[in-house]
Symmetry: none
Subunit: 415 residues, 2 copies
């Protein structure tokens, strides 16, 4: 069953707001096993909306429209949908009473244009709105079904959950399940090359690849008559990915982030951690603290952007800074071991680099970053040359620091 | 001149990501005075993309496509655009060299599919990508111009700013000028209420409001035959906003962020700063270090997520932690003065709070955050109750800490 989405609103075309409704509805439709091939955004313009709607109703089984159900004269989604489906607008008594009650409860006066919201296309299913005045509408035609929803997410989401999801679920006999496999330390194109045969041969389940900063996520999705059957289609594919990527896979849970996976490792091995950051300036510790409860393992973080602070707080030697410079393998190693010792932690990680835009030289260009990770007496340092602007260099540094930290725990703590 | 936007990516149709590119590009096009009537999203499917593109090129002067320029065989935007415009794909030598250099610098192997990114439609303007491997493309036809951009925002935004915006600006005979006025420390609805009369009476210039975390940005936009004329339309409106909002305005420059404005103040008054962070875990120092050159003023940052670290590194007294708790006005004040003293800085800022999801009590609910700011002997502490999830609470805390820091510098350093 195919579905398409039309979002109506000039504020979207002007970029005043981000279209979070589209992401929400797309995710829900995917979950319901509906195939979404198109999303469109159009302004509060009945001619262009009509043109889109005529196209959509020819090519899709289901069209979800959101926005344009308000009381103003700009709001014409309902009128346009009724026209395209050849229906008259009639007064819905319950909608009228609810609008009346809504204003009474708030002690505000009803303006004349509010009554327009009680008019619905003849023969439609009315979705009453507990969080606003515009009812939603389901309009079943011979070959297409239109679903009209209010634009504000605070009205759309509860209405979708309570009324539209169950309605659509009944139309779809098939269940869709998916599983996310997340990798770090391997590039997107390497991953793609290694699973090319799986992608080429895929039908059910399918694999989708998502590139993140220093991570690649793979989503395996299966359709089946029952959840158990869908999961049994996913399992061999997941096993195959595990076989191919091994320890590069840090989780098979959708909600688990790389910092969360590291937290789990710290907890499992009862290891404590300290950080020392120069160019990233606290972004690494900031990401670690994304994880509630990490305070038991993450002891202290030092932001030592200046040489003075590196010496004073981390005990980086003056000679090292003089001889090799602040951005060097040696300084990264001393930062890592320095914060580890200062905090009395088992693990220490140090980051130093040239984030740019200034400060680069021929020997040490912008993007050059050293990341050191110490586990007790042993220290590994990696050199990176990141591209992009200051914020990209810093984000990449944080992601690679987490990847290195995870590798050190896996290697040294011997998992 | 009309423009439409086509975003390519199955991850958008599945709701895996929110389409922030659409909002960014729509805002930029509005700024350029281009009329956007349609936005579409289509998956990595060449037939459906082709169908959309054929429609788009008939009805719009300019079509911006984003996504689908990657190295994988799913990525077919360039191939489809070339076909629709009747162009062959040819090898671009500079693109090839840049891809080669990109991988060499990273020390990773180039897989065969990466070379595909060096192929461009014949006769196109190539937009080289400083932040990734996929070049963007401008494809000028007789009645339509296609602009192809990479999907990742970290690549798309810098490419748009540096290369596409200037290109589009030259196509537009009318000059559009805009000025951004950025406020902190006042809420969106207060701002909206105070400028209601200006918004209602507006025609040229216009004002658009953008709500950010703890900030409100107002964009004044004017159209005119020359830049000087447009600026002379903007000036009285800007003066009026300055009159109404006074020192809540931290900049009237588009590129200046709140942390950058604070850096300017630190520099002007030759003040040094230290930070001590609990629930934000380094995000405040991370934001300060967004500003190149801040190392001269930002001396040290401490991430003291545990009580032990608060005592050891900042000298927060054991009694204070026992009597008032880690999340208290008193602890925030001692964290601020503690980091100030430890670093020998003139200013110290301390943040402590309950970021959630756990750890909230009736007296100290999730979202309760104390922010202290010391300037030499004097300390101000503010209490906040933020709404939303862990990451929203932490982001709001950082934004309010910067706002407080700015207010303290303005008050105490006597600007």
């Amino acid at each position: 069953m195919t579905v398409e989405l039309i979002c109506v609103g000039t504020e979207l075309l002007l970029g005043n707001i981000v279209n979070t409704n589209a992401a929400y509805l797309a995710e829900q439709c995917a979950l319901l096993g509906l195939s979404m091939y198109y999303q469109s955004v159009v302004g509060d313009n009945p001619d262009r909306l009509k043109e889109l709607l005529v196209t959509a109703k020819e090519r899709s089984d289901l069209v979800i429209l959101c926005g344009g159900l308000g009381p103003t004269q700009d709001d014409l989604t309902k009128e346009t949908a009724a026209e395209v489906m050849g229906r008259r607008l009639v007064l819905d008594l319950r909608a009228r009473d609810e609008i009346d009650a809504y204003f009474r409860q708030r002690g505000s006066a009803i303006t004349e244009n509010n009554w327009k919201q009680a008019m619905v296309p003849q023969g439609s299913i009315v979705l009453y709105n507990a969080n606003g005045t515009a009812p939603g509408i389901i309009l079943e035609g011979e070959n297409v079904c239109l679903i009209l929803l209010p634009g504000p997410p605070g009205e759309l989401i509860p209405m979708f959950k309570a009324q539209v999801f169950p309605y659509l679920h009944r139309l779809q006999p098939e269940i869709i399940c998916s599983k996310m496999v997340k990798l770090c330390g391997v590039g997107e194109s390497r991953v793609e090359t290694e699973i090319l045969d799986l992608i080429e041969g895929q039908s059910n389940p399918t694999i989708a690849t998502y590139a993140k900063t220093a991570e690649v996520h793979l989503r395996i999705t299966a359709k089946a008559a029952s959840e158990a059957e869908a999961l049994s289609l996913i399992a061999p594919m997941e096993a195959e990915l595990c076989r191919r990527f091994g320890s590069a896979i840090y989780t098979d849970e959708e909600a688990v982030t790389l910092e969360e996976a590291i937290y789990q490792l710290l907890k499992k091995h009862q290891l404590t951690l300290a950080t020392a950051e120069s160019c990233t300036g606290g972004l690494l510790s900031g990401r670690l603290v994304n994880v509630p409860g990490i305070s038991s393992y993450f002891k202290e973080g030092y932001v030592t952007y200046s040489n003075e602070a590196k010496e004073k707080l981390l005990g980086v030697s003056h000679q090292t800074l003089e001889m090799f410079g602040a951005v060097s393998k040696e300084t990264a190693a001393e930062m890592a071991s320095g914060c580890m010792k200062a905090a009395g932690a088992e693990l220490g990680i140090g980051i130093t680099g040239v984030a740019g835009p200034d400060g680069g030289t021929k020997e040490k260009p912008v993007g050059l970053v050293y990341i050191g990770c110490c586990y007790q007496g042993k220290c590994s340092v990696k050199e990176f040359l990141f591209h992009g602007n200051r914020s990209r260099v810093r984000e990449s540094s944080v992601a690679q620091a987490l990847t290195l930290l995870r590798a050190v725990i896996l290697d040294e703590a011997g998992v």
